[in-house]
Amino acid sequence: MKIKYSLFTRREVLNGLLGGGMTALGVSLLSPILKFAFPPTREPDQVVLPFSDYENIPPNSVKSFPWGSKPGFFKRREDGTFLAFVAVCSHLDCNVTYLPDKKKFFCACHEGWYDENGLNIAGPPPKPLRQLEAVVEGEKLIIKKPK
């Protein structure tokens, strides 16, 4: 049935409401599904390590620690100062390794190179290694995201 001055028949309006309602319901169900599929981020704000384990590593070497589910590197420079990195390549997320004789970080996946301070120098990496802040508080070595 259609009233003369109406744009739609009654049936069209009802079908539209019903169909639109069903579509809206379907779409609204997507949100909980998507929410469920993306777990919360697990990167820590900081990790606390016993400093005694890291204090005495030889100069120009690294010792790894777990940074959430990624490896981190605690590095002692030759002058005795410390640095900390997320030991993951900025290119495609492979774990890097430190080569003390070359004084470079190396990613074996696509041959990416970083200098001893984590600066990308050769190969595909677009960015330096992510640096973390290392603070010694008494017995504790606290490694945290840089501010």
């Binding site: 777990p39 492979c94 074996a108 595909p124 677009p126």
Partner: protein, 353 residues
Amino acid sequence: MLKKIGEWLDHRLGLSPILKFMMKKDVPQHEHTFWYYTGSSILLFLTIQIVTGILLAFYYKPTLEQANASVARIMTEVPLGWIIRSVHSWSSSFMIAIVMIHLLGTMFTKSYRKPREATWLSGGLLLIMSMAFGFTGYLLPWDDLSLSATKVGTDIPRKIPVIGAWATKFLRGGEDVTGDTLTRFFIFHVCVLPLAIILILAVHVFLIQKHGMSIPLEAERKGRQVKGLPFWPNFVLRESVVWLILLGVLLTIAVLFAPSLAPAADLMAPAPEGIKPEWYFLFLFQTLKLFPAKVLFVNGETLAVLTILAMVALLFLLPFIDNRPWEKKGKIITYGGYLFLVYAAVMTVWSLL
């Protein structure tokens, strides 16, 4: 008696039109008939994958703690486990190889032309799904190589503008590749992808029956009559010969070259040297390696990923771009196809050096 059972079933299921269709359909005979066999060979390998895959899932455990050990158990303790895994692993390579040959055959004979564009599109989806099967399956043994390959592979979508970070997080089940990624990949591999591939395959096969086999472009243009070979029993017999040969080759290779299994992956260990994806990803892997970090202020990775996406889009749109295949444009596209083939071959060989 058998006839009675047949009649009883037909009254309930009404399948006789399908049988009749199979009995009377013809397969065209011409210089390109070879390509028709590639399609049915894919079905052979898919069947093998389903059967061996179900068997492997009887023993495989998709968790961080148990995955590697359960594969080791399949290889060493389960009766004939090593050969079931070997067949599953080799058959996946065979299947993808023949999917690619099938695609090239369709491309170079230009069988995707009107009215078969939708068949081509569904085929493109099937190729992507086959590769997704390979990619998700590669992680499941959970050794160093498979972990690194998955880290790289799931990080690539991150470089897609806007949705990239979400895509990576969705694939990994978090920011990083962890035990959650393994479980997720297992579900993609044994549940999501099988449902999807069977659905799309049904569409693909239906469309092939609907339109009939395509005949060579020239014969179609000139209205030349193409001889037909009855599908049943002549073509099926020939197909069976091809199947038997392929099955023999597959089993021989699977027995002689069983895949190895490295110790369980350590999430904290540096990436091992010489990581390589499966052979069908090598040309992409090498392409990624070649892009420098920056190209004119644009992130090299983003550019590489966008290039790959553009290539995929081009592949899907090919029947619409190549809409006058008998003209000069069609020839140029054919040469473009050869050029791409040479590129992929060179990149693959280069990555192996």
